[in-house]
């Protein structure tokens, strides 16, 4: 067992866990942050995507040990009690979530994409979300949600 300490959604957490335990399991089972999903357990589907130090990672491939000192954001950190994050609102309105199992990962991938490209081209959206599989939507409405979220992005609000 190892002591691992990191911040999740703004809260500092210290845990005693097997060092090679998957971060996905630490989040879901130790911290009960079950919004992060497991689809494949081998880095292919992206439903376990989280942001770690601002980078999009598949938490099923990250050993707990690697989270030491990290700043982690999961889907639970996106909305506050009263209000959805604009990206969540766009997914909701545009039909970007059907069964919803890929949605938490997609939302974080979108946040990551828009941080990198506030005005993404269609190509950048397709490539930026290519690590996140969705079997329900055919992606069209997810892309539309991303475009809509980009149009609401703070960088544009300032321009306006």
């Amino acid at each position: 067992m190892s002591i691992v300490s990191f911040s999740v959604n703004g809260e500092q957490r210290t845990l005693d866990v097997p060092p090679m335990r998957r971060l996905l399991d630490v989040l879901r089972e130790e911290l009960r942050l079950t919004g992060t999903k497991e689809g494949c357990g081998e880095g292919e589907c992206g439903s376990c995507s989280i942001l770690m130090n601002g980078e999009l990672v598949n938490s099923c491939l990250v050993p707990a040990l690697h989270a030491e000192g990290a700043t982690i954001r999961t889907v639970e950190g996106m909305a506050d009690e009263a209000r959805l994050h604009p990206i969540q609102q766009c997914f909701l309105e545009k039909g970007g979530a059907q069964c919803g199992i890929c949605t938490p990962g997609m939302l974080l991938a979108t946040e990551h994409l828009l941080a990198k490209y506030p005005n993404p081209t269609d190509e950048q959206i397709r490539e930026g979300l290519a690590g996140n599989l969705c079997r329900c939507t055919g992606y069209m409405r997810i892309f539309e949600a991303v475009r809509e979220a980009a149009s609401l992005h703070p960088s544009k609000a300032q321009l306006a």
Binding site: T36, C99, G100, R141
Partner: protein
């Protein structure tokens, strides 16, 4: 005052159906707070695992437990622990719950383990040593129909059908052309992103309760009653949020749910079984592989005179739902064309592959792939375009389908085709690609497929289901829908609440839907067969009308009412009578007749109609075919929710593109070798083209506010449209899917063997015939 009046008047024109209201459970999904089965923890819960066969067929000789494991810590369940019948009931009772003597496929469940520590299960499962006496196994339709090895029943045949119209034997002598072809399709994994999973609890007084990811709570309920020998009220099934299903959670939850329940009973504690991806892919159902043979008589002016179609599917080791899948495939085999004479013979064969099961489209994508490829070939023999051949043979209102069903909808297939050809710029592209293909290693083409898809259960299925829907008012005067229809992404919750809100003339927010729980909701049938919007929706509408009538008869509500008046009336009724409910039971429309023996009559209450256009590029250096554009037009009756409906079509088209170009199940000795997402490839967002969705709306009298089924339809068209486009790009007819770069490479590297692969009618003469197929002797069912 004026404001008051307009608010009062507003409900009369209250349009909720057809508007993009927010998905009922959408907020929970985008927050990540929706509770899928793996998100649930019960106190004292154990985790379960399954020990499976490693051979395709054989007898279990011995089972030994490696002493390196502390077996005392584990709960172990074998077939001897099953209190009732050792079967997972679907249509028959051939499917074992746990194999005890004979194993019939790889990954067949033999023994179950449970332990409090999930991490301790894999090693323990591997430490159960099973020795077998191997028996010969069969892996293909051809091996099965040869009957050299008997593996199921007397003749390896789960089911056969014979469907006839007119006098198909009379057409051959007078035909100008006879065109033959053989087409095959592969297995396809549903690949819902949430794997199968269930949690079961046992109580000696209450019986068994199972929570899980599923489409049909009452299927599992039925399976539990039989395996546990319990009455209905001692079995309870609750559907949890379900992360995709597509048919893959229609019959299979009966297996995993029963397994979890057996472990729960033996341990006296809750038990959770969640498959990982590898186990889910290796052991659960896939789309049935198929083989279709066509022999078609055509006149020189391109009229279909008649045909013989032989349709065969590989059902896998147990019968499960194969007869129903076969039935839908059989009825759709003649497609959306007028056949004066037609004979379709079909059969579902047993193999030693894990049982194949439901997957969106349910047999129709298989037989329609064959037909729509074949139509393009016929057109070339006749010397007209595929478009023109289709136009000369479309079903029109007043015609009768292959089962003799009258086309009653005022459908206009030609007008719809015009619309999608113009939206996709089909003709201009065709001309342009002829030019550009001369100069580029990337060869482009466009292709078309036309089809229809029956909504609801086939034939007398709905009558047998006898579905029931209930509504009740809660203490705040809101309406709660009680149905067993499951939400798994398609939008069941949302559209049924829209239908109720519109029928009751109250806001969408005032209608709630109960979690499907067999102790609370009646059996409104399974969530399959594109039946929810049409059949269950209509029942919801009727139940609402009944509830309104109750309120009006008791004098609590006027003919015209506001939302507030309705709410008050509900509360008042509850105060006076203790409750307020409404219900509706399925009544077969008087004008629908089906003859199960002759396979004639009204096969479905309604059909959806469609034309799909694919644009493809084949890179002749990498042999990769890519779909670069997709246009889908469909007539689906009233569109209840534009966003959800388009999302259904786009999602189905994406799966269809995967079916055609990406997704291959590779079996070796009955093992699925690529049971991972790393080697079973489904399309990512970067692989898919823009998908353009167009609707025509002709309200159907059979569905809620005119809705027809929509869910399965989009699976039918993409594969043939894409392969037709590939022919148009590179001039090679491919007859099999999936079509991966290695297949294109192999075909481009070898000399054509003639026949249907490269068609030269002038050389083929009036009789054009693929040389290969020998009649395998499909027999006429007695």
């Amino acid at each position: 005052m004026l404001g008051e009046i307009s608010r009062m008047a507003a409900p009369a024109s209250n349009q909720i159906v057809g508007t993009p209201v927010l998905r009922k459970e959408g907020v929970a999904k985008v927050r990540g707070s929706a509770q899928y089965v793996d998100d649930l923890e019960l106190p004292e819960m154990l985790h379960g695992a399954t020990v499976r066969s490693t051979i395709a067929r054989g007898r279990i000789r011995s089972i030994t437990f490696d002493p390196s494991i502390a077996w005392g810590e584990y709960i172990i369940v074998t077939s001897r622990d099953i209190p009732g019948k050792n079967t997972i009931v679907h249509l028959f009772e051939d499917h074992l719950c746990l194999a005890d003597d004979l194993v019939s496929h790889v990954a067949e469940p033999i023994l179950l383990l449970a332990h409090a520590d999930k991490a301790k299960l894999p090693a323990a499962a591997a430490a159960v040593k099973i020795e077998y006496e191997p028996l010969p196994a069969v892996f293909t339709i051809e091996e099965s129909e040869s009957r050299q090895t008997a593996i199921w029943g007397e003749d390896n045949t789960f089911k056969t059908y014979l469907m006839e119209k007119g006098d198909p034997d009379s057409v051959w002598a007078t035909a100008d052309y006879i065109v033959e072809g053989e087409y095959t399709t592969g297995a396809q994994e549903q690949l819902y992103i949430e794997n199968n999973g269930c949690i079961a609890e046992w109580s000696d007084t209450e019986g068994v309760t199972v929570y899980g990811s599923m489409q049909c709570p009452y299927y599992l309920h039925h399976a539990l009653m039989l395996a546990f020998d319990l009455p209905a009220d001692k079995c309870r099934v609750v559907q949890t949020e379900t992360g995709g299903a597509f048919g893959g959670k229609e019959d299979f939850p009966s297996v995993i749910g029963t397994h979890a329940a057996l472990l729960a009973k033996k341990s006296g504690r809750p038990v959770k079984i969640i498959y990982d991806r590898g186990e889910d892919m290796a052991s659960t159902t896939k789309r049935h592989p198929s083989r279709t043979r066509h022999r078609t008589a055509v006149s020189k002016d391109g009229k279909l005179l008649g045909a013989e179609i032989e349709f065969a599917i590989d059902g896998g080791a147990y019968c499960t739902l194969s007869p129903v899948v076969l039935s839908r495939g059989t009825i759709h085999a003649g497609g959306c064309y007028f056949w004066p004479n037609l004979r379709v013979r079909s059969k579902a064969m047993a193999t030693n592959i894990p049982p194949h099961g439901a997957f969106r489209g349910f047999g129709a994508p298989q037989s329609l792939f064959a037909l729509e490829r074949h139509m393009d070939k016929i057109a070339r023999v006749v010397g007209i375009s595929g478009e023109e051949l289709r136009r000369r043979n479309f079903l029109h209102p007043g015609n009768h389908t292959a089962t003799g069903q009258l086309v009653a909808d005022p459908i206009d297939m030609n007008a719809m085709l015009d619309r999608v050809l113009s939206a996709s710029d089909f003709h201009a592209k065709q001309a342009r690609f002829v030019e550009t293909n001369r100069r580029s290693p990337i060869q482009r083409g466009v292709g078309l497929a036309s089809f229809m898809h029956g909504a609801g259960f086939t034939g007398s299925g709905e009558r047998r289901l006898n579905s029931l829907v209930k509504l009740e008012a809660d203490a705040q005067g809101r309406i709660v829908l009680l149905v067993s229809s499951a939400e798994f992404g398609q939008g069941t919750n949302t559209i049924l609440c829209q239908v109720a809100a519109q029928a009751l003339q109250i806001p969408y927010e005032q209608v709630l839907i109960a979690q499907p729980d067999t102790h609370r909701v009646p059996n409104s049938g399974p969530t399959v067969a594109s039946r929810t919007a049409m059949i269950v929706g209509k029942l919801v509408q009727t139940a609402c009308e009944n509830l309104l009538a109750t309120l009006r008869e008791s004098g609590l509500l006027e003919e015209q009412h506001s939302a507030a008046q309705f709410c008050h009336a509900c509360i008042a009724h509850r105060e006076q009578h203790g409750s307020l409910t409404g219900e509706a039971r399925y009544q077969s429309p008087g004008d629908i007749f089906w003859d199960d023996d002759k396979y004639k009559g009204d096969a479905y209450p309604a059909f959806a109609w469609a034309h799909y256009v694919a644009e493809v590029a084949v890179d002749t250096r990498t042999y990769q075919a890519t779909c670069e554009g997709f246009w889908a037009i469909q007539e689906v009756g009233k569109v209840l929710h534009p966003t959800l409906a388009a999302g259904q079509i786009e999602g189905g088209v994406a799966q269809g593109i995967g079916y055609a170009l990406y997704e291959r199940c590779e079996y070796k000795d009955g093992h699925l070798r690529n049971n991972q997402m790393t080697n079973y490839i489904m399309p990512t967002g970067a692989d898919l083209p823009p998908i353009h969705v167009l609707f025509e709306e002709i309200p159907s009298i059979h569905g809620a506010f005119g809705a027809k089924g929509i869910g399965e339809l989009p699976m039918d068209g993409p594969a043939p449209a894409i392969l037709n486009a590939i022919y148009s790009a590179i001039g090679i007819d491919f007859d099999a899917i999936p079509l991966l770069p290695e297949d294109i490479f192999a075909r481009m590297m070898r000399q054509s063997s003639g026949g249907s692969e490269d068609l030269k009618p002038e050389e083929a003469g009036p009789y054009y015939s693929r040389s290969a197929p020998q009649d395998e002797g499909l027999e006429v069912p007695a």
